[in-house]
Symmetry: C2
Subunit: 345 residues, 2 copies
Amino acid sequence: MKIIVDVMSGDNAPLELIKGAIEASNEYKEHEIIVVGDENVISDVVVQNELQLGSITIRHAPDVINMEDRALAVVREKRESSMSIGLKMLAAGEADAFVSAGNTGALITGATLIVKRIMGINRAAIASILPLTCPVLLMDSGANLNVTSDNIVQFAFMGAKYMEKIYNVERPRIGQLNNGTEYNKGNALQIESYQMLSESGLNFVGNVEAKTVPFDTCDVLVCDGYTGNIFLKSVEGMGKFLMGTLKDVLRTNVVTMASTLTMKAKIKDLKTQFDSSEHGGAPLLGISKPVIKAHGSSDAKAIKNAVRQAIFFVNTGINDDIASFALDYDDKKLLADVEKLYDQT
Amino acid sequence: MKIIVDVMSGDNAPLELIKGAIEASNEYKEHEIIVVGDENVISDVVVQNELQLGSITIRHAPDVINMEDRALAVVREKRESSMSIGLKMLAAGEADAFVSAGNTGALITGATLIVKRIMGINRAAIASILPLTCPVLLMDSGANLNVTSDNIVQFAFMGAKYMEKIYNVERPRIGQLNNGTEYNKGNALQIESYQMLSESGLNFVGNVEAKTVPFDTCDVLVCDGYTGNIFLKSVEGMGKFLMGTLKDVLRTNVVTMASTLTMKAKIKDLKTQFDSSEHGGAPLLGISKPVIKAHGSSDAKAIKNAVRQAIFFVNTGINDDIASFALDYDDKKLLADVEKLYDQT
């Protein structure tokens, strides 16, 4: 298997990204890592930091997409960027998966326009694991501002497949993020999606309020990307805020040194749990080939974990399941439309 | 001043509500507390629990609005409920403020239809203080599913006045909750509101991401009620979840008993911070007279604090400021419309 790593994008590029690619290459020796980026920059970083690329190959890309670039840059003014070239290699079948910590908007746009969606899937979604005790997959966490109820059902199906195959969850529980649990809560979108999810054959457990999500209420949480993004960031922000408050409590504490050390170890465990780098990256579900969005602040460990995730993704064959579902879903929609047409005439 | 307390609504009604009213009456002796609810039920609770109503008067209301009732029940099938009668007393000038821990939808509907909005204010909003180190007022936290940019600007103004008068914040910083900080982030609503807030004369600090809200980025956070509700509940849920995780850490800890006790005290401080009962209730800003929504799970202390908040609200004359702003805002809108009309002809 060949995994492409975009080593030029992200807050800690290129050093941490290159280190992550090397760690992945050493750990998953049976697979091939290709790093894409400016050849000279990569060589300089390798020499200056006394790194060993080993079996890693470099694909030259002269340009880089920054956080400030517009999403469309990936197919317009920055077609020679590491992200753009990596996605084109993936589309051309030169590799099996692509990992990038770069500009989210550009990555979604590039994945959709260059790698293309799975036939029948109307919108790809960012599938983020929420950093809670029990993993909850948030679909969509920010790829689509506005969605339809069809999109929501597709998010639910794709998310369920992901949790089944990657996290070994049997019949994943699907919840719809909403402002109340009753079927008629929310806007027209949530009310319609509720109905459709109920009839979808998925293990739909109904609407879920934000306050109960941390308490093992569902395995996949579906919503539009705007709400999902606000929710994901509030979970991240609150985790960070509370860990900070906790540190203050420990600092002003008068316990013995020994106990503080024990406590510190426990707190570190807790911190690990909320550390997004442990979870690797977020795949863009619905894209015809695996594209993994690593967190912008990814370090070497996070990149290595994102590569591991890409390998899992390919190995489990999730996309085949999604493709056959999408065709089926499309057929059913078509049939329903035909029936409506007959009823009217 | 006369404050009405609806003692029949809320998870802990009537006992905790009656206790809270008595505590408030004992603490704020210069003011009069009127409890509204079923006379017989109240008398029984008072006798059985050996309570003393003291100077509190009872207004009889034979019916109660439950959590399951539809919002419109307050003006239709349950016009004789404690909430409905309390709101009618407020509207008729028989008291200065109303406190209820009941059905949120019914309270907003009743406040809007019975007590009425301040002239020129298009939508009332629930103003909740987020339980963080620095108080942040969330406008709207759930009164309105769909809002316009005019509503958002009015939320911002009302919220600013509230933080100025109740929390002594000078020139409160207004942030718009959004999925990114740039001016063009979000849907048409957020983009338009950004522009209008920039020109509003308020201390607008721009779009704020959910993850930075806990870190003192703004004093008032504006958004539609759907997003606000999701955000408020995620903050509540994460607070509860993390406090629970922390308890587990402490339980499995091997520190000496003495240090655990010290730690426990610190943790208790932390818990108090996230305890919504400390903050009293959430006023419905934009209603012509003070209506305070106490948390559904309010205990006696929370009710006492909600009464204190009602007294503050009346004393600081916030509604006069909101009324004069609303008239001014209306005039400006009218002038802008007239100008547009002239430009076109």
